[in-house]
Symmetry: C2
């Protein structure tokens, strides 16, 4: 069902690649304005403490200090991403009555230089009354636990129950059941560009402009409106190039709110750039959680029931953590038909920086657990890991009652392709080697409207000028994932023109149509649809005009391709795109051609309009003496519908595997009573380029009718299977079972010894 | 016929007034980009010379010099504003084979600092072969005159013939005829902000962005496209705040083209700022001309014929000089019914910087001549100056055959109001005092499409967001005249909201709809119509929705006013504007409301869709001993249709009178064989604030059906009558007749003596 396109599906270098590699591309980090001040936060050294007093008088005397704000200076607006439920809007600009985590900002200084700002915060005297803290979710829910927020009993921030079928009956029918408990540790975001914002308030018009490194200018606009008690339309957010987001730049953070407040106070532009330590200790990370998982199967391997209980370590605020909580119950069921399913989950407040969405959010931790458990069950039942997956996977049209519907679905052909290829690629394994598998699926953007926007989920405006050049406007956000290129490809394909004809404008809430931002792999499908609709409106005008000029039968088909509009069956009969545009604008009273497009999902359940999916295999070698795991190769078969830009998708798959390997092997965030012990790039261990295994990527193209040109989610899905595929490879090689991620050598050795002991016991 | 508006017609402070007075407003002059280079031109010391060689090798060796361009480096595209007639596109980026005026750029250096760039141009060695030059138009047309451009015989750049009625028959019917010859000297523009541009070329996308102090971003985009042989859509022009234009910033000048070429060559941003001397010697000024004028009247004062011959001193290139040539034949006929009229004019090339449009262009010189002559004729016939004007003025609906149509026309009531007021204000004059009059009229933008745009003459886009805030987009240019405020007032009035609800975006060719720019008083009527149409589209949607929600009879009228949409006759039945907007966006699938508007004049003749007009009186005292003229007061009655912002119009009238007094009294540009002798603000004499007379402004409101809310031209019209009203005051006081402007004391004394001699002779 693959269709022929001119641009779509061809490996294409990024439209901003040259600018980024030459340094011409400007990030918020690079920006400055005349007369700019530098902001710096004073942060709490306590995980939980009451603020008794803040004395800024000494700091104010320092030459070059222009303003200092504390919690008393903020308008008192709380904000959050769960705007539909105001009680979950718990973020504050600066701590007022108490601090809730180490690193929480309590004051912010604006000074003429960074050095002066840093000196000044040392001169601020804060008197604290330390309070007992709570650092583990299992402690947090106890009745005598200290409360992080007074209004939330037992520190329970959010709960989730998902259920379909009849789980108890399901387990009753099972020939085999198994229970496993896991602890999933958090993971840092570690974007190359730290959080930073530049705010400029105009006292004359009472309007605020903020440049920020953000995944969603619209969310930032809303967050600032709530925080500053201003109306949205008086706040303009501009997103320059962004050096990585990965889920950690959806929330409105103090770099923006404090810069804005200080600019309002001083009337001068204020820039705040977090340093790397601030980035680690005060910005969001992947949610840690405890997971209890029970599965029931028939002896042929057919899953009949699953039950999952989750309690997450939410940290001090909500962020997108409530969403992650829900999706953690959803993606572990993919891409399988589980007839009876029950999920109960709690998100707890703790005295740490808060946990939220991070790449593959909702999938990465619980898929690790579920796919690990599935291989253990397969082994117990004597079934091949690929066979047990084939037995259970979804087919097109599958529906999880009341939750989600899956239209295009290439998982079975993916597994079949994997079976074939793996025999060629890795015909045999040596001793201490193993091949592990994990299936995967992920969403193409989310449906539930927690942000409570009244706008379409994605909008685009296309303007065609007299010379045929196109201006493309949208708030859809490229944060390094390549959406700028995807946007231009979709627009060019729809109009039948060249990518060089299109100028894409950066996301700017004052000049580009709203899009909810880059998260949950939503941009390609949602924004792609909006762009295609906008460009399609113009294409229709051009085709109609060409038909009229040709005098053709109304039933004849015309196409827009190769910069021409012509009769599909008689290509010589047609016009240059540029000529038709010129005529069309003249016919339009001299107004350029404008098309507007939008997309909001309808009739697609609660989760997402479409799902990318596939299967991953990792071959690994385990050094049993020292516990070192060496991934030797990664093989992926991915159904992402019609690929828009295979080169971009490939790059994103590499990134996902890289981050997934880090999640599995080495990225951890040790915490001592609320203090992160490794807040630096030196101590936080990320997989190095030279340790990356070779990755082979194959695709099973499907056509997703809901997506632009048949496209859906690509690449983000491949983070979640990485850790379980690797753990399963170790399991295959050694029998070692892991009850957590971060498989450092000592943990590996311990698990191998436990496996050997178990084996010996069985004999 | 005055209508009641909420915002229109109320004196209103400028929307950008606070930003401008606090220094927050950024002009191109204030801008810089990271990694920016500074450009500096080497200029010709010869008025006319062949370039034999240019040696840049020494300059290139200077540390910090990054690039040097000469005529050889430019793509060879010529450009100009008369794009409809390519032979008049005569401008070049840098002189190639020869130089045509002193100050013409021959090379440009980009260096890391301004100082280095200035040092570097001293090191460039140009070998010239001097050529004989031509400096006066009467010399230029002689057969043996040197040719400024080889292709233009007798140095004739453009010719104009205008004729209606039968001039010879007209003169045959006259009881009285009179001929006068005048020389009108040029006038500098002298904007506070000099020409300056910042260009940034992106080698990756091959696109150019230019920030510039310009009156028309669109013209600059077109000029750059022609000059650089790029397509328009790959060039983006952004207009920050502009510190004055007055007609001198319509052309694409070397500050833009050289900055662009040097940025393309270096890949770095390049800024070029002319210094004040460069501004004087190399940028456009008001056209000097020789005028021969003949008038024929019946003895009762009725004009029966006029003939005018003009030869203008065009300078080395065309600019808007060809337009000025045409309009010089038109505006001298206003606001009179001249039954038989003939105009023949030539524009000559000379070896000087070229002459173009300047405030009141086409009107200021020839109106000076015609209104001076009319008072002399009136005196000869023994008729009062106001009576002779009343006898001849147009009435509504008047048409000059084949040229123009005048709809709203308040000239007669203006004169009647003047007659009444002047008796109260200046009941008598002392010795050596006189009161002079001049009628006036001016266009509301031009009709003839010399720029050859296929776009509507003005476009606007209005977007209404969920919170009711409005984003208003247009390329219409505020260059200090207050159009930003007028735009917002018109948009707010049409939607019935507050000015604070509207955010106006600066003119930017990539994000705002095309408008031809600020010249000829076109923005209020043309862009005002486009904005009203765009806002009106949205108002209609809101009104329709409100009607549907109220369930009212379809024939009932609803109004949008005071941030409500309600039944006109039952104001309590209605909705908040903000609530209706929210509903309308939801009904629109979550897309914000977008209205687009445009305006192109139709069926309005060749000149303009509408004309502001009126009458001015100046009382002056003449010191007969020293020849000093002291203007004592100015009285103006102005029909500008419905005033949009009376405060803004008043400010512009003051500016026009100020510049008109300079034209009359002191602003001159003495030239010695092509060399301007006073290229500095010290030597070029402008009327000082303390020498400004008191100005009383009255209006005679008409309703111009073609204009937004009944508006038409305001204030620019009042420059042209200033000089003749003042000269006529001197004439009334002393009998002195002037055959040129710039009435310095020696000229005044001479004219007084001639008048006294004539008087004595008559006795």
């Amino acid at each position: 069902m693959k269709r022929e396109y001119s641009i779509i599906g061809k490996p294409t270098g990024n439209v901003d690649g040259a600018a980024k590699t030459t340094g011409e591309a400007k990030y918020c980090f690079d920006m400055s304005l005349p007369n700019q001040l530098y902001g710096k936060h004073l942060r709490s050294p306590y995980a939980h403490a009451r603020i008794l007093s803040i004395d800024t008088s000494e700091a104010e005397k320092l030459q070059g200090v222009k303003a200092i704000i504390t919690g008393k200076d903020v308008p008192g607006g709380k904000w959050g991403l769960w705007r539909r439920f105001r009680e979950l809007c718990d973020q504050i600009a600066l701590a007022d009555d108490k601090v809730r985590f180490i690193g929480e900002p309590v004051a912010c200084v604006a000074a003429t230089t960074k050095d002066i700002a840093e000196q000044a915060i040392e001169l601020i005297n804060v008197e604290y009354e330390p309070l007992p803290g709570v650092f583990d979710p299992l402690e947090a829910i106890k009745d005598d636990a200290p409360l992080v927020h007074d209004d939330f009993e037992n520190n329970i921030n959010a709960t989730r129950h998902i259920e379909w079928g009849n789980v108890d009956e399901g387990f009753a029918q099972a020939d085999y059941t198994r229970e496993d408990k896991f602890t999933c540790f958090p993971q840092a975001v570690a974007s190359m560009e730290v959080h930073n914002s530049l705010a400029s308030y105009d006292k004359g018009s009472k309007r605020l402009t903020v440049w920020s490194s953000t995944q969603s200018p619209y969310y930032l606009q809303l967050g600032l409106a709530d925080a500053l008690k201003m109306r949205e339309g008086d706040i303009r957010v501009i997103k320059p190039h962004v050096g990585g987001g990965f889920g950690g730049k959806n929330s409105t953070m103090p770099d923006s709110t404090s810069a804005a407040l200080l600019s309002m106070k001083t009337g001068r532009p204020v820039k705040i750039v977090f340093n790397r330590e601030e980035e680690f200790i005060s910005t969001e990370h992947r949610t840690g959680m405890h997971v209890a998982l029970k599965i029931g199967l028939k002896k042929d391997g057919k899953i009949v029931a699953r039950e999952c209980k989750v309690i997450t370590d939410g940290g001090a605020y909500t962020g997108l953590g409530a969403t992650a909580l829900y999706l953690s119950g959803i993606f572990q069921t993919f891409p399988y038909k589980i007839p009876n399913y029950r999920y109960d989950a709690f998100r707890t407040y703790t005295n740490k920086v808060w946990a939220t969405s991070v790449r593959g959010f909702g999938a990465t931790p619980t898929v690790y657990c579920a796919e690990s458990q599935l291989d253990r069950a397969a082994k117990d039942l004597g079934i091949d890991p690929l066979q047990i997956r084939k037995m259970n996977v979804m087919e097109p049209g599958y529906e999880a009652p009341g939750q989600y519907k899956v239209d295009s679905c290439g998982i079975m052909p993916c597994i079949e392709k994997m079976e074939k290829r793996i025999k060629e690629k890795w015909p045999k394994v040596e001793e201490n080697e193993g091949i592990g598998f994990s299936a995967f699926a992920y969403m193409s953007g989310g449906i539930f409207n927690w942000i409570d926007t009244p706008y379409a989920y994605s909008g685009a405006r296309v303007q065609v000028n007299i010379d045929g050049t196109v201006d493309l406007f949208t708030q859809a956000s490229d944060i390094g994932q390549g959406h700028n290129t995807v946007s231009v490809m979709i627009c060019a394909e729809e109009l039948g023109i060249g990518m060089e004809d299109i100028r894409l404008h950066p996301a700017d809430t004052a000049t580009t149509p709203v899009d909810l931002g880059a998260w949950g792999s939503r941009e390609t499908l949602m924004n792609g649809n909006a762009i295609k609709m906008a460009a399609g409106q113009i294409k229709q005008k051009l085709v109609d005009l060409a038909r009229a000029k040709l005098g053709e039968n109304i039933a004849y088909d015309l196409v827009a391709k190769d910069k021409r509009i012509y009769l599909e069956l008689r290509p010589e009969r047609g016009f240059s795109y540029y000529d038709i545009v010129r005529d069309a604008i003249k016919l339009n009273d001299g107004e350029p051609l404008i098309g507007t497009g939008h997309y909001t999902p309808h009739n697609k359940g609660m989760i997402s309009p479409a799902y990318g999916m596939g299967i991953m295999a990792i071959k690994a070698k385990v050094d049993k003496e020292i516990g070192h795991i060496e991934p030797q190769g990664v093989l992926i078969v991915h159904d992402c519908g019609q690929e828009i830009n295979p080169l971009g998708a490939r790059g994103q798959v590499e990134g996902s595997v890289h981050m997934g390997l880090g999640y599995c092997l080495c990225e951890d965030m040790p915490n001592d009573n609320g203090m992160l012990l490794n807040p630096s790039m030196n101590d936080y261990k990320i997989v190095r380029q030279r340790d990356m295994p070779q990755i082979e990527l194959m695709d099973v193209p499907t056509y997703e009718a809901e997506g632009p040109f048949g496209a859906k989610e690509a690449a983000e899905a491949t983070i979640a299977p990485t850790a379980p595929a690797l753990a399963n490879a170790v399991f295959a090689a050694t029998g070692a079972e892991f009850d957590s991620n971060v498989l450092k050598p000592e943990k590996v050795l311990k698990a191998i010894r436990a496996a050997e002991a178990k084996k010996a016991q069985k004999k």
